[in-house]
Subunit: 191 residues, 2 copies
């Protein structure tokens, strides 16, 4: 139970058995099947989830109804609409499962309580947020400064397993282009 979660935790912050027990009591497990939703836009995001197994997709819809993939989550990653979670406001994102998933969930109540009572948990969240911010910044930099071809090659080398597990049109969406454009790029690269 929560196996990968605690493995990941201990790689970032030291954790006594008492602390581990206290945190464990505030976690819940959940399984969702491929195609099911974890969160819909306009709902309040009441949990952040840690992915023990499976693939999640976080995306938003623009006014035309077009879906834009914000990110993919694999084993060991965290997902959730953080803005909605922190401020308890309606979510901007949808989250659904691209494969059957096993998740470790932390509710807002549990999160707030753990932050107050377990310093190691606050340390873990600080490190998680710092890493997430750095990754997001790196993606923004790539979006602004790199060509589509460079972005695609970067994505391929950085996340080869995502390519294997996710349809190509979703990769295109994550890169910010249409499926046709990515398809043509791939045809060009082969030459």
């Amino acid at each position: 139970m929560f196996k990968l979660f605690f493995k990941n935790f201990k790689e970032k912050v030291a954790l006594s058995n008492d602390e581990k027990t206290a945190i464990g009591e505030n976690l819940k497990s959940k399984e969702i099947k491929k195609g099911q939703f974890l969160l819909g836009a306009d709902e309040i995001c009441n949990h952040i989830v840690f992915i023990e197994k499976g693939v999640l997709r976080t995306y938003l819809k623009d006014e035309s109804g077009f879906e834009h993939v914000i990110f993919f989550g694999l084993e060991g990653w965290t997902a959730g609409d953080l803005n909605s979670f922190m401020k308890q406001q309606p979510a901007r994102f949808y989250i659904d499962a691209l494969e059957d998933c096993e998740l470790t969930m932390i509710s807002k109540t549990a999160h707030d309580q753990l932050i107050e009572t377990i310093p190691a948990f606050e340390s873990y969240m600080r490190i998680l947020m710092t890493n997430a911010y750095m990754a997001s910044l790196s993606r923004t930099s790539d979006l602004i400064s790199l060509s589509l071809e460079e972005r695609y090659k970067n994505f391929n080398t950085s996340y080869p397993s995502i390519i294997q597990r996710v349809p190509q049109y979703m990769i295109a969406s994550h890169l910010g282009v249409s499926p046709e454009t990515l398809s043509r790029l791939r045809a060009k690269i082969v030459d």
Copy 2:
């Protein structure tokens, strides 16, 4: 000294006088003139800075030498190449002053020590990172899902003061387009 820094701090986390003193001993002030650099790419980012006064620009250069603005920092904002700071690796970003600046600086050594010894400081950093991540995510969402016109209008309403204080071609760069394209968009909007 550090006036705006502590004002901002106390809006996020409660702070005793003893803690304030301990933190203050780990801060430094610095002034830089318009045009001067706070950080050059390939240097190690040894400080994160809090902007008491002035405007900073964070940008990177692509292989063609083109500059791409990552963000602007105004009074009350934080700047620095976080990835370089945290991992003590060469920076990817340049940071320079668009106006004369007064800065509050935290060195890596001071940061690490304060994280260890002052829980309120770790709370502050956690909240800072969380907010920075949410803002970065929001920007990524906008870049992927909105048209240039929508992004420009959003920027205008979200950061009207930046428009007043920063050359238009840098705004264009922040939006991810050429100066000519932004100029033409503005001409179109007037109609």
